[in-house]
């Protein structure tokens, strides 16, 4: 079994699991209660808040725990009660794109947001903009600090979806200059069902969930203590091991790309752009991505054609369409997203099988 789909989700780190387990069966108190057992839960949440804050260089009081990245994105957008359209780009996560009214800045073929187009669009009436820090398919890292200064220069609020960035590149909330930022636990070897909205929380005036007043009234509902503790531990490990993980993934990816480029008719998307170390998305002439995925799956290799969220969608990735990649090649897209525990041997096996599949397809 070879798992190359870490941008969809990651297995939990054993150390994270061990940290979480006591909070299921032993320290199970409801953090809102007053007795010792409950105070243990409360202080464990406080520790997790510090760990998550540290990962992205924010202050603990700037962290609100949610049920995940999707909820954090929704809370940022719906909670700020902006009255105009949302200014965003065409290749964001569906949780951003499905906002009621959006104005979308164009993307260039290298996967970067077109800053000239942004400047033109900024002249319209907006009060909130949202751009993702790292694209989940191409792995391209946006220059959010520049985008943010343009947006903030007009006096608008700025949110960034950093779900694919946290734990993969150094993320500095202060330096990015954004007001709000979303991150998710299960992309960094933490449990699913937990994420955080980070930032200037005073802008959140309309919470999605009401009743109970947890998370400073911004996210009611009994805290998912074990998951929060797990998220905290995962954030701590991601912070401590960031360079090691980055170096490992980069080495594997370069090794993979070197071999991929030898295959005829194969092209890597956004090859010259700044990309996170673990991700490469490529197309193969005269192949259908879904077909290749199925063949790989038969050999127990898990990769993706793009985002995992809307897997029933037709085969062309909205990210690649936004980048104006030719449809025939976009339809053949494969995304490999590596993890800290992948090996060079797995890359070798993958390349060998991929070669075979491509040969057969032709």
């Amino acid at each position: 079994m070879i798992y190359f789909d870490h941008n969809a989700t990651t297995p939990i780190d054993e150390r994270v699991l061990q940290t979480m387990l006591p909070f299921l069966t032993h320290y199970y108190g409801n953090p809102s209660s007053l007795y010792k057992l409950a105070r243990l839960s409360r202080s464990a949440i406080d520790t997790a808040r510090e760990q998550v804050a540290q990962l992205v260089h924010a202050r603990p009081e700037q962290v609100i725990f949610t049920s995940g990245g999707t909820e954090a994105n929704n809370l940022a957008l719906k909670g700020t009660q902006h009255n105009t359209k949302l200014l965003t780009s065409a290749f964001e996560h569906p949780s951003i794109l499905e906002s009621e009214r959006t104005e979308r800045v164009s993307i260039n073929s290298q996967g970067y947001i077109d800053q000239l187009d942004l400047q033109v669009k900024l002249n319209q009436a907006f009060d909130l903009a949202s751009f993702m820090l790292v694209n989940n398919e191409t792995g391209v890292i946006q220059d959010i600090a520049s985008l943010s200064s343009l947006v903030k220069g007009k006096g608008h609020l700025m949110h960034t979806d950093a779900v694919q960035a946290a734990g993969k590149i150094p993320v500095d909330f202060q330096a990015l200059g954004v007001d709000l930022m979303s991150i998710s636990s299960h992309k960094i070897y933490g449990p699913k069902g937990c994420g955080a909205l980070i930032g200037a929380l005073e802008h959140i005036t309309k919470p999605l969930l009401t009743g109970g007043g947890q998370e400073s009234g911004l996210r009611s509902g009994t805290e998912n203590v074990a998951a929060i503790v797990g998220f905290g531990k995962a954030a701590e490990l991601a912070y401590l091991e960031l360079e090691k993980r980055q170096a490992h993934c980069l080495q594997l990816r370069l090794y993979l790309e070197q071999q991929l480029l030898e295959l005829p008719g194969l092209c890597i998307f956004a090859p010259a752009s700044q990309r996170i170390a673990n991700t490469v998305q490529f197309g193969i002439e005269h192949c259908i991505g879904e077909m290749v995925l199925m063949q790989l799956d038969k050999k127990n290799i898990a990769v993706s054609s793009g985002s995992a969220c809307a897997s029933n969608e037709p085969a062309v990735s909205h990210v690649l369409s936004a980048m104006d990649i030719e449809k025939s090649i976009a339809q053949s897209a494969i995304r490999v997203s590596l993890g800290k525990d992948n090996t060079q041997q797995e890359i070798d096996t993958f390349v060998q099988i991929l070669k075979h599949i491509i040969k057969q397809a032709r």
């Binding site: 297995p11 299921l24 199970y28 007053l34 929704n74 069902g193 009401t210 203590v225 969220c309």
Partner: protein, 387 residues
């Protein structure tokens, strides 16, 4: 003594050992860890199967169809989604919601939010026993009523409302009914094939499942047409997008299954604890039970102690016996219970009320010890008050 006695099962429960084991199998590389939406590969497919099996298990015990259930982050979210979802999608058909003044904050605060947005809400006032009557509900219904939202079991008093009678009325009147079953699910059997309930919320951490997961039952999803709170990703028929937390979902289903296997055992065990506890505390003068003596869930006892304020008793006991005066959601503040106040309980009795709630893992010995400690503390505090 090192470990305090936990008498706050209505606030939350520990995860059952089998449930914890089940969750672990859905987290690590050697287990089912993938994204259930990644059905392009076998890892994701396994996760999807695990999620759907869990849905079927939940449906089996609720006697509904699997496709009528969607997973949420808990009862608070389910309640928000049910109430806001109906209100926002049916604005053109009416603006009136009926609920009860003793509901959970997740319902009350949501209704208050809707009032600010132009909806009108009737908060039915229960009697001194915490019960509402059908006539009262019937009288509150108007032509613009969209939804009735009533909890099955009250989290502070354990009082059980007559949901069958309520559902009969709302279905006759063709008004949607939402039931918050957070405290009842897994403790009393709920048969949705027989009760004409339209929406029902539940939460795993009240029945020995994990925190952070719950579900919402929606009968005739297409016709009811809820407006989602969260957008993006398309999961759960787009009513609740976001990566599904496989381990939480599988854990909830396992816990629900266990709860139904043990429904009678748990209930008998808890009933006998209740009797023992009441007998033990019966040695004290000046105690009053709050709630109904006919229609209650045995795991919750709400009691007032004459001449002892709730805060001082809770603080005096807190390292020996873990308990609450009311709902846990008030973020650390001890304040008088709005539930009891809504029942017309006032003054001394209101400010001296404590909630005791027992569970599967409470032992007869713990009940004896706790009873002993509570009696001693109550007597001591009363003496102090006199001096």
């Amino acid at each position: 003594m090192n470990n305090p006695i936990y008498l706050d099962y209505a606030a939350t429960t520990p995860v059952a050992p089998d449930v914890a084991k089940c969750m672990m199998q859905h987290l690590t590389t050697d287990g089912i860890f993938a994204n259930p939406s990644s059905i392009q590969h076998c890892f994701g497919e396994q996760a999807e199967i695990a999620v759907e099996n869990a849905r079927s298990t939940m449906a089996k015990h609720l006697h509904c169809k699997a496709k009528e259930l969607i997973f949420t982050s808990g009862a608070t979210e389910s309640n928000n989604l049910a109430i806001k979802g109906i209100a926002y999608s049916r604005r053109d058909q009416g603006n009136h919601i009926i609920t009860v003044a003793t509901e959970h904050k997740a319902v009350l605060d949501t209704c208050k939010r809707l009032e600010k947005e132009g909806f009108s809400v009737t908060y039915l006032k229960p009697d001194m026993k915490g019960l509402i009557n059908i006539e009262q509900l019937n009288n509150a219904i108007t032509e613009t009523t969209l939804l009735v939202s009533i909890m099955q079991v009250n989290n502070e008093t354990g009082v059980i409302q007559d949901i069958a009678a309520i559902a009969k009325l709302t279905s006759e009147k063709n008004i949607l009914l939402h039931v918050d079953a957070a405290q009842s699910a897994g403790k009393i059997a709920i048969n949705l094939s027989q009760l004409p309930i339209d929406l029902l919320s539940l939460s795993a951490h009240k029945f020995y499942g994990p925190k952070g997961i719950g579900c919402l039952f929606i009968r005739h999803r297409a016709r009811i047409h809820l407006q989602p709170l969260i957008h993006g990703g398309g999961q759960e028929y787009s009513l609740r997008p976001g990566t599904l937390a496989t381990h939480q979902i599988a854990g909830m289903a396992k816990a629900f299954e266990l709860a139904h296997e043990r429904l009678n055992n748990d209930s008998q065990h808890i009933t006998s604890l209740r009797h023992a506890f009441l007998e033990k505390l019966g040695g004290l003068d000046g105690i009053t039970l709050n709630g109904s003596s006919n229609s209650y869930l045995p795991n919750i006892i709400n009691m007032s102690f004459e001449n002892v304020s709730s805060d001082s008793l809770i603080i005096a006991l807190r390292d020996q016996v873990a308990l609450s005066s009311s709902s846990a959601c008030n973020s650390g503040a001890i304040e008088a219970s709005y539930v009891l106040r809504a029942m017309g309980i006032e003054g001394e009795r209101l400010y001296s009320a404590i909630r005791f709630s027992f569970g599967r893992y409470t032992t007869a010995q713990e009940i004896q010890q706790a009873g002993e400690i509570i009696c001693t503390e109550v007597r001591r505090l009363r003496l102090l008050a006199v001096q």
